[in-house]
């Protein structure tokens, strides 16, 4: 097999690899479609659209799987682009991941649209095998198989990332900055892009492998029902995988913030001891706080659930204290020029930090007992996905569309971009608050039909969703129209 390598130390003036642009274009197109599905769901909940329950749950399954998928695809593009400036990554593996991703997407679409699969993206055992005749074992197998194919692609990619990082830094510890963290800080710690990629490579390799194991077990169970799985073990494995995988998207996408904001502000954002400590702590915390998804499974060992709460509280600190303060410090009175890239990136740090707040509150056992699986949950995760992860990727797209450098001419941004930004920020906040308010009122998540008292939240949510969709359409269209300048010129 011939390997194409991207050049090392790629500068902002080199050409953006086409596969990166392909990933971003795919992510942009799919996010729009999934937002349309999300809007339909919200309209249906608000009683403004008549969707049969089976259609509702099919769309919910597609929206969940599709959004998680493009979150991974978009954020991997961010990681690969910046990491590729420090280590030699394989272009072939990156393309293989994109191809496997698309194959998996086709399988998932077929499973849902033709097979009627609606077991939600979390495919929680044993629902895929026990749908009361709503879908067939083949449909479920196609969905589970699709996830498996997508996971395989990402696993390959992380193995290549591991190879490249080890090739340059010798060990994962060095790539995580251990010599500087535990010894004398000689100022030569790896850049955050490398530290973050190493962190993600560790957690996601373990997460995806666990996910693959439960997917394969589910697959066997579909055709050999006598092969049963312990339901509590299955839930632990599934949620460990889902939790790590979706968290990893943010930790990859945030590399855009660490890499791009300093180019706007002219202030370096170094891997200081504190930054290194935060990222290293996150390696452990992201993997050990997942029991906050199982707080209402009283059969779990109590120590695991208590640890779930304690570690969830602690895991907010690196995000809120280190990344948020770091971003604010980098920007404060820096003479920075605003454009959509810098605006979206700063918004994204707010969105991430803001989403962590209701998440941590819900990780409190006694609060979880009256909020778990209500709309509070989509409320907090949409905050750090829609207002955090997504603007990180969108900001990166704008950055590329600008030719990979800050806007130099004032007014280069069109009026519609600026309007788009404010509509996205304000309506996005309104949208997530409508979810949170619904959760406060006790509305369960994943309900095709809502009671009368929950409708006002649904309707407000739908209105805001339409605005968010319109703004995102502007962003994605702008990126696609500027693909030429995003590709850039060879210096």
């Amino acid at each position: 097999m011939t390997d194409t390598y991207v050049t090392t130390n790629m500068t902002a003036h080199d050409r953006t690899p086409i596969p990166v642009l392909a990933c971003l274009a795919t992510a942009g197109a799919v996010v729009l479609l999934m937002m349309v599905f999300g809007l339909l769901l919200r309209l249906a909940q608000g009683g403004m659209l008549d969707l049969a329950p089976d259609t509702f749950y099919e769309l919910l399954t597609l929206h969940g799987a599709g959004m998680v998928g493009i979150a991974a695809l978009g954020s991997v593009a961010v990681m690969w682009y910046f990491l590729g400036q420090y280590v030699r990554l394989s272009g072939a593996v990156f393309v293989a991941n994109l191809v496997l991703f698309l194959v998996g997407v086709v399988m998932i679409l077929a499973s849902v649209l033709f097979g009627g699969f609606a077991g939600a993206w979390t495919f929680l055992y044993p629902l895929p095998a026990q749908p009361m005749g709503v879908w067939s074992a083949h449909a479920a197998a196609l969905f589970v198989g699709g996830l498996l194919v997508i996971g395989t692609g990402f696993l390959l990619l992380y193995l290549d990332v591991a190879r490249a990082i080890l090739g340059r830094y010798g060990s994962l510890g060095r790539a995580l900055g251990w010599p500087q963290l535990f010894g004398h800080d000689d100022g030569r710690a790896p850049p955050v892009a490398v530290v973050a990629s190493t962190m993600v490579l560790i957690i996601n390799t373990i997460g995806i492998t666990t996910g693959a194991a439960i997917l394969v077990m589910t697959l066997v169970n579909l055709y050999v029902p006598a092969f049963g799985i312990d339901p509590l073990l299955a839930k632990n494995m599934t949620y460990f995988f889902g939790h790590v995988f979706i968290n990893a998207t943010i930790y990859m996408a945030v590399i855009a913030v660490y890499e791009i904001l300093p180019r706007y502000t002219g202030r370096p954002w170094k891997s200081s001891k504190v930054v290194l400590a935060a990222w290293n702590a996150s390696v452990i915390m992201v993997m050990t706080n997942y029991p906050h998804h199982l707080l209402m499974d009283f059969a779990m060992p109590e120590w695991a659930l208590v640890a779930g709460q304690v570690i969830s509280y602690a895991s907010g600190l690196p995000v809120l204290v280190v990344t948020v303060i770091g971003a604010l410090t980098n920007v404060h009175r820096s003479g920075m020029r605003w454009d959509l890239a810098s605006g979206l990136l700063l918004l994204s740090v707010f969105g991430w930090g803001a989403g962590v707040i209701p998440a941590i509150i819900d990780a409190t056992v006694v609060i979880n007992q009256v909020m778990h699986n209500t709309l509070w949950v989509p409320g907090h995760f949409h905050t750090y996905l829609l207002l955090g992860m997504l603007p990180m990727v969108l900001g990166f797209m704008y950055f590329l569309a600008r030719g990979g450098r800050p806007t130099d001419a004032a007014g280069a941004e069109r009026g519609i971009d600026r309007i788009g930004f404010w509509v996205f920020a304000v309506a996005g906040l309104g949208f997530v608050l409508a979810f949170l308010a619904g959760g406060r009122a006790g509305a369960p998540r994943r309900y095709a039909e809502h009671l009368a008292q929950w409708l006002p939240y649904d309707r407000a949510g739908a209105l805001f969703a339409a605005l968010v969709l319109a703004a995102t359409l502007v962003f994605v269209a702008r990126f696609l129209l500027r693909l030429g300048s995003a590709r850039g010129r060879v210096a």
Binding site: D54, Y57, A118, G119, A120, L124, P126, L127, Q130, P131, M132, V134, P231, L232, K235, T265, M296, D297, F298, A299, E302, L305, V310, V321, V322, I325, L328, T329, V331, H332, R333, S334, G335, L346, V349, F350, A354, I357, P358, D362, T364, V365, V366, I367, Q369, V370, M371, H372, N373, T374, W376, A437, R440, A441, G442, P444, Y447, A448, E449, Q453
Partner: protein, 183 residues
């Protein structure tokens, strides 16, 4: 009430965070030539914030861990009214749909096939307690009702096409005379 507390706390903290971002965003265009003092001030703030969060959060966290729903199932020795609950697609099987206020009700919850979640809602559709229903496991939830009325049991774990309509009722009556005398 925890829901209101969670909502208000989230709004306040998200509001403070938003204010900090707006404050910085509005000043981003000014430029100080020498950023060093500004950066060392930011590091000081970061240190203070870190310790402040730790000092406030630790006792709050310990306090919330005192009375966990798991432990209370074990230590509450008063006689309980036992209700066996089985989640099915798509209905709740209850050994009885009657209970009374004042005495703990012990819900022994399991499921016939797929995962469900037992969510107990009062007459104002406020969620008062919940526990997951998992096949092969029995999750025991103890809850003492303080208000009589007709409570609704909703499903809180996605279980397929009729998930949203998997609703049962539980009639909670006033305490019996015997009960009242004993308390």
């Amino acid at each position: 009430m925890y829901q209101t507390l969670a909502w208000q706390l989230s709004l306040i903290l998200m509001g403070v965070l938003l204010a900090a971002f707006l404050f910085v965003a509005l000043r981003a265009r000014d430029r100080v030539e020498d950023a060093a003092p500004l950066i060392s001030r930011a590091y000081r703030i970061r240190g203070i914030l870190f310790w402040a969060i730790l000092v406030v959060l630790t006792p709050v966290m310990l306090y919330t861990l005192i009375d966990l729903p798991y432990a209370s199932a074990g230590i509450d020795r008063r006689e309980a009214q036992v209700i066996e609950v089985v989640g099915k697609q798509w209905a709740w099987d209850l050994s009885t749909d009657q209970a009374s206020v004042g005495t703990p009700v012990e819900f022994r919850v399991t499921s016939a096939a797929v995962n469900h979640g037992l969510g107990i809602y009062d007459e104002d559709m406020r969620l008062v307690a919940q526990v997951m229903a998992m096949p092969e496991y029995t999750n025991t939830l103890r809850h003492t009702f303080s208000e009589p009325g007709t409570y609704k049991l909703l499903c809180l774990e996605y279980c397929g096409m009729i998930h949203h309509d998997m609703i049962a009722e539980l009639k909670v009556g006033a305490a019996s005379e015997e009960e009242t005398a004993r308390d």
